[in-house]
Symmetry: C2
Subunit: 253 residues, 2 copies
């Protein structure tokens, strides 16, 4: 049985805690967070603390914290024989360079506090200082998800950018669609099935092959009609993305 101390009490920490509660061979023995209030959920289930000097010795220290807090707190860990892991997409493994045993355990998903997640569908990107530590990290990851990927720090930086494109920026486009609906008294829910199908389509089709719409067809009539319906900010976005699609699909600009 390997012991884990979990640092953090946010979305990622909460979902990981739930997932670890259901596996064998590992046990979360303590949760640390600097604010007591966030520990409510944990404190009936496991010892908790807000005082770093009271952190238990453990086999694994798992940092599910904001990027800037990781190095800051890690340097205060005195049990130098533990495997140090963090869950951040943007923080390099080098943040743990002063430790003998260190790795990354990055679950690539957008977590919401009250929405249950199924870790079996969440890729976990792992990295470690050497092969044997990578093995240890992989063993833990495989307990909660079959989708474990070995991704180095440089790749993970790029993966994080790609995630911004396909998630943060995509969500922003959803908000633009909602705005257009609201301005025209159309219920946004009409677009939900289209949004879902667009997202699921690319499981079987590359996004290049899945592209449809007036820009891909080079249909200037529809494009000009659309531009006439938009405000200045929306027009700027519409033009840039339309021209980018045209360029990608070899249509004249």
């Amino acid at each position: 049985m390997k012991s884990i101390v979990l640092f953090g009490a946010g979305n990622v920490a909460t979902h990981l805690f739930r997932a670890f509660a259901e596996i064998e061979d590992y046990e979360v023995i303590q949760v640390y967070n600097h604010r007591e209030k966030s520990l409510e959920f944990f404190k009936e289930k496991v010892p908790v603390t807000t005082d770093f000097t009271e952190v238990f010795p453990a086999d694994i220290y798992l940092f599910a914290l904001k990027d800037e807090a990781i190095s800051l707190l890690a340097d205060r860990v005195h049990y130098r024989d533990a495997l140090m892991l963090h869950t951040s997409g943007a923080t390099p493994l080098a943040a743990f360079e002063s430790f003998e045993k260190a790795g990354v355990f990055y679950p690539l998903q957008t977590f919401s506090k009250n929405k249950p997640v199924d870790f079996k569908e969440i890729p976990i990107c792992i990295e470690a200082k050497n092969e044997s530590q990578l093995k240890m990290t992989e063993q833990l990851a495989l307990k909660i998800s079959p989708a474990v990927y070995k991704i180095n720090s440089e790749q993970r930086r790029s993966l994080h950018v790609a995630a911004v494109f396909v998630s943060n920026f995509v969500n922003f486009l959803y908000s633009q669609g909602e705005q257009i609906c609201r301005q025209n008294k159309i219920p946004f829910e009409i677009l939900h099935p289209l949004i879902k199908e667009t997202a699921l389509k690319i499981k079987n089709l590359s996004p290049f092959d899945a592209q449809t719409g007036p820009a891909k067809r080079g249909d200037s009539d529809v494009i000009n009609e659309h531009l006439g319906l938009l405000n200045e900010d929306q027009k700027t976005i519409y033009n840039l993305l339309t021209n980018s699609i045209k360029k990608l699909h070899g249509k004249e600009l």
Copy 2:
């Protein structure tokens, strides 16, 4: 029993034909298409024709054709007592103005030829020349989907633009994410669960509330690091969308 002649043999026509085959009270009695080859799928199931003079009399003529073909072909219909319907998001009801009975039957979804669809999950946006024709159109729509919306031509134009934002443009961002992955030898499938969750999240959360990421947080360190990893075209898109998100969420530009 009401008879339907279906014009068109593309994705929308094919999926509608399948859906109509399973309902009561309506029967597709003929499929017209100008190219014989596309009629292969239909010809063992129903009479087909490529000759407009051979089109049967029917209660409903349903045009599931490219925008530009709708008015062109409709003017050749001689059975002036039929209800004329088209399935286009971009074509106004006015395209049928010379007909007594006319409406729009617009299923809002992205259709792929070989991917089965469940019409029960597809919104159908309807419109007609008057209340009784709207009722007739609604009756047909409700046979294949519970999600029937009354949307006028002006609203439908805006809905079509909104659909470009949440589907065509979103798919383009997926292609950018894939490109970044490819350039860094990362399997794109790692991002599939994130893409799916981002799309499903907005069923319960408004896109505004669902927004996450460095732009929303105003995290310049991460934003600058990301920009350093992108090519010029990607940078232009990243900057515009990041600044738009910042603006929407009241962060300084």
